[in-house]
Symmetry: C2
Subunit: 210 residues, 2 copies
DNA sequence: CTCCGACCGTGACATTTGTCAGGGGGCCGT
DNA sequence: ACGGCCCCCTGACAAATGTCACGGTCGGAG
């Protein structure tokens, strides 16, 4: 599979240094792949990519500074020729959708066999799309987030824990409004609690964006 | 650093196949280390260890079947000569304490530089203890869990989300008693919510074993 | 033995939460 | 211009939640 041509240049972004290094070791075993950059924060992706000009970027979703989805969008805008393969811990249905919308070429969860990663990289580099079929089905089933923008924002803020009055202060809203938004979110998620609604929304990846 | 003697035999346990394989690749780069077994579940650690007789086991904490702490205890009981190095995502203060009590020789979080992992393995194999000094300080500061056994159980059950009545049914308690335990837990954790108390207790690693 | 603390329960209370029915205002597509 | 959707607010209500004071049991430490 490894032609004699120049190897594929890779950028790795993951907040956990250990798995970042381990992935680098894993991918460096392949003759046709070479890791040219590693970063631990989402907001370092674009600057580092400018410097090292990778062919493919492997981005984690959970990262400080800038999440992997936003980093994907930024990277696609800055270096359109660089393909993005999102590698994440959680197979949240919404993550896949958002990643694809942001311009990612592939989406792989971290419990896929290690063997398949290099192939995924090659496919992405060749211009193909790589998606976990199981996850794709879930994504179709889960559909788009039913939550309105405000509801999402309230729910995201409520994640930190705090009374409705606290949320109202933080969001410059009336307390009753906050409770209304929460009630709507609870209804739409099928939950029976505020906490439950947060769980559901988080599992589906509906709490990302800015 | 690599003597000519027989290499150190390693067992890897992590639920994410990708990082498991990546860690294997990383550690296999060292001449004096060899990965002899990989498992993805906590309850497969002891059977696989019996078969492959590793010198050191690298265990993740978050695993299906049996968490890494319990797996540590089981492994120490079954094969006392095999050392355990716990490698985990979260630096929960309570995790370190519990791991050490269970008989682990080392504790490493996943955002330590990849370079240090092999050394940690060697130190553990040599009979030394390996602990992140920052985390050790936090553990001392956080102290033991202030929660009583029942309070912990109630809080752990409440994690799944559900009304006080639900918890009462699940635990065969009165609803008032459940609310009392929760109230006590809220007070001890310094939280102002049930959900908040769960967050705090979880962050400190007070909601583990049975 | 006695005391203390963990545990279980009761009942009552104030607060918070979730729900519902309203009433505005703004924006967009028809 | 109209309906429809989202947003914001109000007020009121039932339910759930958190708190408190109180009694009782049981086991272990002094």
């Amino acid at each position: 599979m490894s032609g004699g041509s120049t190897p594929i240049r890779l950028l790795l972004a993951d907040d956990q240094a250990l798995v970042r290094g381990a992935l680098a070791a894993l991918l460096s075993l392949e003759e046709d792949l070479t890791v040219v950059a590693e970063v631990g924060r989402g907001d370092e992706v674009v600057p580092e990519a400018r410097r090292s000009a990778p062919d493919v970027a492997l981005l984690d979703v959970e990262m400080p500074g800038l999440d992997g989805i936003a980093a994907t969008a930024a990277l696609r805008a800055a270096l359109p020729t660089c393909r993005v393969l999102v590698v994440t811990t959680f197979g949240r249905p919404g993550y896949l959708r958002r990643a694809m919308e942001a311009g990612a070429s592939g989406f792989v969860v971290k419990d896929t066999p290690a063997r398949q990663l290099a192939d995924a990289v090659r496919r992405v580099h060749a211009g193909l799309r790589v998606v976990d079929p199981t996850l794709a089905a879930e994504t179709l089933a889960a559909g788009v987030s039913p939550l309105t923008e405000r509801e999402t924002e309230v729910l995201r803020t409520a994640r930190g824990g705090g009374s409705a009055a606290d949320l109202a202060r933080a969001l410059h809203l009336s307390e009753g409004t906050v409770r209304n938004h929460l009630s709507a979110a609870i209804g739409k998620t099928g939950a029976r609690n505020r906490a439950d609604a947060i769980r559901v929304a988080e599992q589906n990846g509906w709490l990302l964006g800015e």
